[in-house]
């Protein structure tokens, strides 16, 4: 389990304990966090689960692979802090992770 905090575009926060092995996207969907669509269900095919990761966390997460990098490059609101939440696996290593959601996924 890891505690993950999801921060909506307007600053509203939601914190949950998410089981190991799930993705951060699944943690959001399971807990009905608004702002993460995940149209493809986690296949890294749609870029509708984009989140912003604070810089101090970015280095602690597994690197972005080329598929994710390309998907992100087409996401309207992506920045250098963006990741796809479906590609971040939950484990003790992400305890305390904070992710921010964009205004819209489209």
């Amino acid at each position: 389990m890891a505690k993950i905090t999801f921060v909506e575009h307007d600053g509203k926060e939601h914190s949950f304990e998410v089981e190991n092995g799930l993705s951060v996207m699944e943690g959001a969907v399971k807990n009905m966090v608004p702002g993460i669509d995940a149209d493809c269900g986690g296949a890294c095919a749609c870029a509708t689960c984009m989140v912003y990761i604070e810089p101090e966390w970015a280095a602690k997460l597994p690197a972005v692979d080329s598929q994710e990098e390309t998907m992100l490059s087409f996401s309207d609101h992506a920045t250098s802090e963006s990741r796809l939440a479906c590609q971040i696996k939950v484990s003790a290593a992400v305890e305390g992770l904070r992710v921010k959601m964009p205004k819209s996924q489209h």
Partner: protein, 405 residues
């Protein structure tokens, strides 16, 4: 406020609930599904759910609490047997009459079943539901001989998972190549090569005549009389839209329930969404019936907008994906009617390339294997009817983002 009843409990139905509440509909919503499950995602069924990487809970579209919070009256395991349009009510297999104000038909599709000698033997499976996959997976033991009938996406995805689980897999396809209905020969040849490299035997140009066995299937008899030994069989020969309710209710149906760009049928109180619809597509200038998650989600959003008083026409470039081994195939657009095929990259070596389809110089579709950039660029260009010189598409020294020139 009129109550809304949704018939069907797949992707489209789940999204319709979410969108109706997000769009501010506060009236009663009732969801009726004939399966015992809340709306779930079907794409993983032939992929990570079959392989055992995902359990049932992880394929749900939304968690059970979502429906409680949305105050949806969920009725599962209930089949709607008729629509009484004059009386504004549904009839069910349990003898109930359920009233509706507005009705959304999200009845989806079902597998096409074979009706040939031996086709009812134990051990012959189809893949559409959680239940189907659970039954199939129980028989996927390492070393077992699996024969997959049909070399479409479902058949090839099952073959890929089974090969990784250690089964001995043969795919038989009646056409002269796999994926013949939907892709160019170069894609078919590529998938046949990779499946061969991964230990799957693919045999094309071979129709199925019947199945042998006493109570359980023991073999697949193909045209010419040869019997291919099988411990388990999976048949993937296409799906059919569930239109019977609409037909019996007298709604307009043409291989799909006919709807307009706002998902309205010819009855002002009945909408239809997802696989079961025949709908206009402005980008292609014709009507389509699609078997896809993207269409299910987008039509659900369109229907919700229609019902909450803000008409938003459905205009979408269809897209699809298929995961097999380490191949991520992403498809944008529809290739039917193409006159030119352009290959970018080398499909004969490695596992990364894209095929573009053009009609009259205009890009209409792409099949991209491990090429997200080609997929995403093409998806945008298709929407704008972009004309692109074939030589530029084929030239890998030109970055995809500059391809439109």
């Amino acid at each position: 406020m009129e109550d809304i009843v949704i018939v069907g409990a797949g992707h489209a139905a789940g999204q319709a609930v979410a969108s109706l509440r997000a769009d501010g509909f506060t009236g009663p919503i009732r969801l009726i599904g004939d399966e015992p499950y809340l709306p779930y995602q079907r794409p993983p069924l032939s992929k990570k759910f079959l392989s055992g990487e995902l359990d049932v809970e992880r394929v749900y579209f939304k968690p059970p609490a979502f429906y409680e919070q949305a105050q949806v009256d969920v009725r599962l395991g209930l089949s709607v047997t008729g629509i009484d349009r004059a009386g504004h009510r549904l009839l069910t297999d349990k003898g109930e009459a359920i009233p509706y104000g507005k009705l959304i038909l999200a009845t989806g599709s079902r597998v096409r079943r074979l009706s040939i000698p031996g086709s009812d033997l134990v051990g012959i499976h189809y893949l559409r539901s959680i239940h189907d996959v659970e039954a199939m997976r129980a028989e996927f033991r390492p070393g077992a001989r699996l024969v997959v009938v049909g070399g479409g996406y479902i058949g090839l995805e099952v073959a890929a998972v089974a090969a990784k689980l250690g089964l001995s897999v043969t795919v038989i396809e009646a056409a002269d190549r796999v994926l013949a209905r939907v892709t160019a020969p170069v894609i078919s040849a590529f998938y046949q090569r990779v499946h061969g490299e991964e230990g799957v035997q693919i045999r094309t140009g071979l129709g199925v005549a019947g199945f042998t066995g006493v109570s359980r299937v023991e073999g697949v008899e193909v045209a010419g009389g040869e019997v291919i030994p099988a411990d388990v069989v999976v048949v993937g020969v296409g799906i059919l839209a569930n239109v019977e309710l609409a037909v019996e209710a007298g709604l307009r149906v043409e291989d799909g329930i006919v709807v307009d760009e706002f998902c309205r049928t010819d009855d002002p109180d009945i909408l239809a969404i997802g696989d079961c619809t025949r709908h206009p597509n402005g980008i292609y200038g014709r009507t389509l019936r699609l078997e896809s998650v993207h269409n299910a989600l987008e039509q659900a959003k369109t229907a919700s907008a229609t019902l909450t008083g803000s008409l938003k026409a459905y205009v979408q470039v269809p897209w699809f994906w298929s995961d097999q081994f380490d191949l991520k195939l992403q498809i944008a657009g529809l290739s039917q009617g193409h006159d030119t095929i352009v290959v970018r990259g080398n499909p004969e070596e490695g596992r990364s390339f894209a095929v573009f389809y053009l009609k009259g110089g205009v890009l209409i579709a792409v099949d991209a294997v491990n090429r997200p950039m080609e997929f995403l660029t093409a998806r945008q260009l298709i929407a704008t009817h972009a004309e692109i010189a074939p030589a530029r598409l084929a030239d890998e020294t030109i970055n995809m983002k500059q391809i439109a020139g």
